[in-house]
């Protein structure tokens, strides 16, 4: 026996577990499941439901000798506690004896169930949980079979009580286990739910405005062990045993949460999280859960459209593709390959993106391809390739000894599940969290250190932290020696970034900068997360890369950088070389780079024809729209008739992610495969298949028959993706890596299908003798002097005006409308109240926006959502801009 383990006996089996383990977890080792309702492995135990009662005995100690008493056979005497104990709150101790299945324990659990059922309505036939309900299952396994209680005396509560737009509460069914309340408090950090009253009158309430205001509310329905909380869109949708479940990956943001598509008769009935501890644990956000209804939208394109006499009319695939082939060939003939260009959205799968660049590079012969429009406008991210977080990084375990530095990201809005994990690492597991940002965000509540810099000085702050690390001699000399070059030059350049000076520029206290630098550098593991509001310019990336390398937080698991990217496959788009200057796998192109998306959409680009797939630039600005109107020939691959598609000469209908298979690469570089869930409407094709057909019309002989086949070629052509055949990506997780979580108890699907594969960064490779990384220093843009007016921040909100969400009816009420968030004081000063309109102007551009007062916004700052109807903020801050100094006046 080592010091950190404890050996005990459960039902006659000897079990050795780490110290501090709870009996309920120890019993799982011998697969002797102790029934629970309130206990959940991800939350603190409370012992509310008393379902886990077991008999517990410990070795008797002689009071005089302080020695264990021995019986005649020389074995220690076990003294059982007179009352049963709750296995979920009792930690194990040495020599403990636990009786799970003793007659007395069974009797007690039977009693508890009879009690719970006295106020349960037993309306299982109409309950959405019926068939996958722990209360049903445990009643059958442990219950008394009949009740001595008079049915007429049952509790009566309202049956259909809406908790917000997304969740329905049936209070009669609730057994007050408080899993939902605790999830909201401990994990989501949105204490939106509470228990009101006591005893039999206790019930769940929400007093937030809007009701149950949380991005994670759907998870409470998952953790609910009865049918008390159910989701609005699945209400009476299907019985659990009628569902067919397909493993999938969420296509709404870069986190890449693993999901299960539960389908019936060709429709997605619900989306549930699929356990993957390395990505989303057992959670998903509400956008992922409820934002799938676009798949079944009646507005989906179902047949190719071709422009005839100025009108888009239905056509056959053959006709549409022939036209694309002829026109592209003619444009190439007349104006050369560089008269053609393409923009592919970062929502496409790796297979689509690979073939997209191959079509342009190999078949057409142009490098005019890009994915960076809209939210990814200025994205130019290779940090993941150099010092991205190491393979095997698992934020669900990051805790004591680790430091997480978040720069310029409102994670709760940009990447909700990443927020859960980062907040959990800090609040639950004791990681040091440093949240640097221009404004207060939800993460500040969990952060030990909040650094509030002036907008536009994120790079200065990063360099200040770096200089402070050097100043305080916290540099990881050995790590730099092994991995990087150019430290001396960097040191010299950093002399201009002395802490006092940086403090002056950024507005952050000098001591705080030093303390944060120290905390980050001294931590065993360090992760840097940077988001949209940090600005994503090359100077910032160089500074953060250097910070990771200089502090030695690179090239290992749980160390490195995470860029919070906007779309499901933003990472994959960069990996697959859908950029004008890089080939797949980040190799630079031979010769001259092509045009970037901004250049292609600038108007005077010289392009005659374009292929746009899965992205809608025309909705973003009138300038883009004008540029697209000026083209001779525009082909659009889309799900819906978007603004861009309306301008097209040929519109090709494609399948959504749920209707085809493929892979996405998430922001931790994890390549994950998703399966086909539902059939596509009408004649839609997968994007890669459309590209194969276009290539065929242009004379290429591509022989891809499946997404699987395209991936097989990627594994050959892109060294980073070696070994990532579908076969490996979909391999089931080994038994040792499975951990059971109670939300899956009784579920109609298994949660543990696959985990995905990460590709290694340069920093990891150079530990094994690969090339060293240069420590770069790029002078940041000069900080503009103080101007009068508000700092308007174009911020990304979870429910933005993206087309996919707009087509998902359930979340309609949550979608952000154009508005400006102001502090209460500023609103008073301007003489406006909630809903009043103000004119926001800058450099002759002015926009009218309704006011919303928000307590998180600081004085002098105004926050407005990006990517919403009409794109008002983008007009003021520019397509890739983050902030602008504006004038705000009452209209």
């Amino acid at each position: 026996m080592s010091d950190n383990t404890v050996t005990l006996i459960i039902d006659g089996h000897q079990v050795t577990v780490p110290k501090g383990t709870l009996i309920v977890d120890a019993a799982k080792q011998i697969e002797n499941e102790i029934p629970v309702f309130c206990y959940h492995t991800k939350m603190d135990p409370v012992g509310m439901c008393r379902m886990c009662l077991v008999e517990v005995g410990t070795p008797a100690i002689n009071r005089e000798t302080r020695q264990p008493e021995l019986d005649e056979a020389g074995k220690p005497v076990i003294r059982f506690f007179p009352k049963p104990m709750t296995a979920c709150t009792t930690p194990v101790s040495e020599g403990m004896v636990v009786k799970v299945d003793s007659e007395s324990a069974l009797e007690k659990r039977k009693g508890i169930l009879e009690f719970l059922l006295t106020s349960h309505p037993l309306d299982c036939p109409v309950c959405d949980k019926g068939g996958e309900c722990p209360l049903q299952d445990l009643t059958i396994r442990h219950g008394p079979g009949n009740s001595r209680f008079d049915y007429e005396d049952k509790q009566r509560f309202p049956k259909r009580y809406p908790l917000g737009d997304l969740i329905v509460l049936d209070m009669e069914r609730c057994i007050i286990c408080t899993r939902c309340v605790r999830f909201q408090e401990e994990i989501a950090h949105d204490p939106a739910l509470a228990v009101e009253n006591r005893g039999r009158r206790a019930h769940i309430v929400s007093y937030t405005d809007p009701v149950f205001d949380s991005h994670y509310s759907g998870n409470t329905a998952d953790v609910c062990p009865v049918g008390a909380l159910t989701t609005r869109d699945f209400r009476f949708g299907a019985r659990s045993w009628e569902l067919t479940n397909a493993p999938s990956v969420c296509n709404h943001c870069g986190v890449g949460c693993n999901t299960v598509l539960s389908t019936r008769t060709g429709q997605i009935k619900r989306i549930m999280p699929r356990q993957n501890e390395a990505v989303n644990e057992v959670w998903i956000c509400d956008k992922g859960r409820f934002g799938h209804h676009f798949n079944g939208s009646p507005n989906r394109l179902t047949t190719p459209l071709v422009r005839k006499d100025g009108e888009l009319v239905e056509a056959s695939w053959a006709e549409a593709l022939d036209l694309v082939g002829q026109k592209f060939a003619a444009i190439k003939e007349a104006g050369g390959a560089n008269a053609l260009g393409g923009i592919a959205g970062a929502r496409l799968s790796n297979e689509d993106l690979y073939l997209f660049q191959k079509l342009f590079r190999d078949v057409i012969g142009a490098h005019n391809i890009d994915h960076r429009v809209g939210l990814s406008a200025t994205l130019e991210d290779e940090t993941a390739y150099t010092v991205g977080v190491g393979c095997g990084t698992d934020l669900s375990r990051t805790g004591k000894g680790a430091a997480i530095l978040v720069i310029g990201s409102d994670l709760d809005q940009e990447a909700p599940v990443l927020y859960l994990r980062v907040a959990g690492a800090a609040a639950k597991r004791g990681a040091r969290l440093i949240n640097a940002g221009g404004r207060q965000t939800k993460l500040d509540a969990q952060a030990q250190t909040s650094l509030r810099y002036r907008y536009g000085t994120a790079t200065h702050l990063a360099l200040g932290l770096l200089a402070s690390v050097v100043e305080q001699k916290l540099v990881d000399e050995a790590g730099i020696e092994a991995r990087a070059t150019g430290f001396a030059e960097l040191k010299k350049a950093l002399q201009n970034y002395a802490t006092a000076k940086v403090a002056d520029v950024t507005g952050v206290d000098a001591e705080e900068i030093n303390a944060a630098a120290k905390a980050f550098a001294e931590a065993d593991n360090g992760i840097i997360i940077f988001g949209l509001e940090a600005g994503n310019d090359s100077a910032l990336r160089a500074a953060l890369e250097a910070l990771a390398l200089v502090t030695g937080h690179a090239g290992e698991a749980d160390n490195g950088l995470i860029a919070v990217l906007p779309h499901a496959n933003s990472r994959g788009a960069a990996d697959m070389g859908v950029v004008p200057d890089r080939l797949p796998g980040y190799a630079p192109v031979d010769g001259e780079a092509g045009l970037s998306a901004q250049e292609m959409l600038a108007g005077e680009s010289g392009l005659k024809g374009m292929l746009i797939a899965g992205v809608d630039p025309a909705a973003e600005s009138e300038a883009y729209q004008a540029a697209l109107e000026g083209l001779d020939f525009l082909v659009v691959q889309e799900l819906f008739l978007t603004e861009t598609a309306k301008l097209a000469d040929v519109v090709l209908p494609v399948k959504g992610a749920a209707e085809r298979d493929g892979t996405f690469t998430n922001l931790e570089r994890r390549v994950q495969a998703f399966d086909i869930g539902v059939p596509a409407p009408g004649l839609a094709w997968a994007d890669w298949l459309v590209l194969v057909a276009i290539a065929g019309r242009l004379g290429a002989e591509w022989l891809y028959a499946s997404a699987d086949g395209v991936m097989a070629e990627i594994t050959q052509q892109v060294p980073l993706y070696a070994g990532m055949e579908f076969e490996n990506l979909t391999a089931p997780v080994s038994l040792e890596r499975k951990t059971s979580h109670y939300i899956y108890e009784g579920m109609s699907f298994t949660a543990d299908a696959r985990e995905g594969v990460q590709w290694p960064t340069l920093a990891e490779n150079n530990a094994e003798g690969g090339p060293k990384l240069p420590l770069r220093f790029i002078e940041p843009a000069p900080v503009a002097g103080d101007e009068d007016g508000f700092t308007l921040v174009g911020s990304r909100f979870l429910y933005d005006g993206g087309r996919l969400l707009a087509e998902s009816q359930v979340v309609e009420s949550r979608i952000r409308q154009p508005q400006i968030l102001l502090s209460k004081l500023d609103a008073q000063r301007l003489g406006v109240a909630n809903g009043d309109e103000v004119t926001v102007s800058q450099n002759g551009v002015s926009v009218a926006l309704p006011v919303k007062i928000n307590r998180m916004v600081a004085e002098g700052t105004a926050v407005a959502p990006r990517n919403v109807a009409g794109r008002p903020v983008e007009k003021l801050v520019g397509p890739g801009g983050v902030y602008a100094t504006v004038k705000v006046e009452k209209t």
């Binding site: 309306d123 036939p125 109409v126 019926g130 049956k159 259909r160 209400r235 009476f236 949708g237 019985r239 045993w241 009628e242």
Partner: protein
């Protein structure tokens, strides 16, 4: 020789006797469908979806009948009652309820599974259709009031009616 003649004549006479005896008994053959057929009370014929006395549907769309069905011939889609549009008591009703009578083996498991005694196998067995698609009964055809069969009559023999105490001592 005489003995043989006598024996065979008696045999013929006896056989004719049987024939003549049946000639005077009531015929077994029913003139279906001109005359109604009698079935026993527990005969399992086509399904009927019952209603409560106040006219609301008994069916709550729980789909337990579909789950119990060994031939998967029942398809149910549930929806939510609203105060304006109420089909059944409680929250849930069957928006779609179809039974494929060609697949059904009339085992009665659906009626057994039904928690509200909504689906009942009644006595009609004359289910022939001119079109196979018509054999898939939509909810409107299954729901009471339905076209009761004119050609089936239920026997009311005491011995068969009073069976409620079967299996009990």
């Amino acid at each position: 020789m005489i003995k043989e003649v006598v024996t065979s004549s008696t045999e013929i006479a006896r056989a004719m006797g049987v024939t003549i005896k049946y000639f005077f008994t009531k015929p077994v053959t029913h003139q279906f469908p001109d005359e109604p057929v009698e079935v026993y009370p527990r005969f399992r014929g086509r399904h009927v979806l019952k209603r409560h006395e106040n006219g609301l549907e008994r069916c709550i769309g729980c789909a337990l009948c579909a789950a119990a069905c060994p031939t998967d011939c029942i398809y149910v889609e549930a929806a939510e009652n609203t105060d304006d549009e109420r089909y059944s008591p409680g929250e849930r009703y069957a928006k779609v309820y179809t039974i494929n009578m060609l697949r059904c083996i009339f085992c009665g498991y659906c009626a057994e599974a039904c928690p509200t005694e909504a689906v009942v196998l009644e006595h009609d067995f004359a289910l022939a259709e001119y079109d196979r698609w018509d054999a898939i009964y939509p909810k409107e055809r299954l729901l009471e009031p339905h076209d009761a069969s004119k050609v089936v009559v239920v026997r009311d023999d005491e011995v068969f009616v009073n069976v409620s105490r079967w299996g009990k001592k």
